[in-house]
Symmetry: C2
Subunit: 201 residues, 2 copies
DNA sequence: GTCTATATGTTGATAGAC
DNA sequence: GTCTATCAACATATAGAC
């Protein structure tokens, strides 16, 4: 599962050029050149360009999911946990913006089988966030009209960052992520003033 | 500015295949075939495949912006206006999901000049929503920690729908859009219980 | 405006030496 | 595992008839 140095180099090069020009706009030559390798280098570790895209997408989602699961496990208070999850999910997207863009925007280039794997991973994010939300509802801290849709909206706050984030305009990633988490808590808190301003750590 | 029947046919065909296979995964032959035309048909009205993508993106954003401006103009109450804007923006994305996906996900295939136009249009959405938000803040109905970032989050709720919406799972577009609008109002309302439950029309 | 035919350049992938 | 050389297929765009 661990990548060798040469593999890592090729992987990072592919993420960079896929993010910039899209999957279809990238030639396998571009990837190899970015990694200072010959045009044939891509095919040493990957059977095709599509399989390389899949490897990137699958690894990216697995890493993000492991991160989110870690945050989930580190908290017991339901409000603090959702706050931390939205914040870390947002921050993860800001810090892995290229890989996240490739994963989210190039899905149509995957074979049906590979796409099914990535969509199954996506469902895991939803399941994890929903579980955290349910705990807060049971505790009386949250009031939510529609659990499924609200979960989508919490994830949307983080994922949509990859569409517009521009470090030249607003480079403070941690502050953006915390702002998202604060908005998330307001979205779901029980409608009493005291619950709407939870502690932030 | 109006499209002829043949133009419209080609346009719709292009939106459909770009949305399904991506810009890079689509051949001009696919577009022509979908519109029941010969492979050369694309070049009667468009100088290149890229120019066709640009025409789609520019038209799509212009239509969405006109729609949002109409909703803005139709309201005077700040809370009702933001509620309606988020709802209609969400609904617009659900009803024009293919064109919206092409516009958002294929931007890297545009020339720098064309991309600049689309990004300028994007800023107009932000400006319009921000203006609506400011009116509510001045009226004391909204309390917002960061105007710029909160505006992005309001738009995110609508735009991210195109990523996951699946009519086979939850086909009620109007209800999804209204749910988004309700969440938006909770996100920004002044922290008193009465303000958090605005009328919905 | 629509068609058929095709020129022209490109690209994913492989062969085979080292 | 890495390289150079190259193939076979393909895709954009154009030419020119109707």
């Amino acid at each position: 599962m661990e990548l060798t140095k040469a593999q890592r180099r090729l992987f990072d090069a592919a993420i960079e050029v896929f993010a910039e020009h899209g999957y279809g706009g990238t030639r396998t030559r571009d990837i190899a050149a970015k990694a200072d390798r010959s045009p044939a280098a891509v095919y040493v570790h990957h059977s095709s360009k599509e399989e390389l895209l899949f490897a990137i997408s699958e690894r990216t989602q697995r890493s993000a999911l492991a991160h989110l699961q870690g945050v989930y496990d580190a908290h017991s208070d339901p409000v603090g946990r959702v706050h931390a999850m939205v914040m870390e999910f947002s921050l993860w997207h800001l810090e892995n913006i290229q890989a996240a863009r490739v994963t989210q925007y190039e899905m149509h280039a995957l074979t049906p089988e590979h796409r099914a794997v990535v969509i199954a991973q996506r469902r895991e994010f939803h399941r994890l966030m929903r579980t955290a939300l349910e705990a807060g509802i049971r505790a009386g801290a949250f009031e939510v009209a529609d659990l499924h849709r609200t979960t989508h909206s919490l994830l949307a706050l983080g994922i949509d960052l990859i569409r517009w984030f521009d470090p030249g305009v607003d480079p403070d990633k941690v502050s953006i992520a915390r702002h998202n988490a604060d908005l998330a808590i307001r979205m779901i808190s029980s409608l009493s003033p005291s619950a709407a301003h939870p502690g932030r750590n």
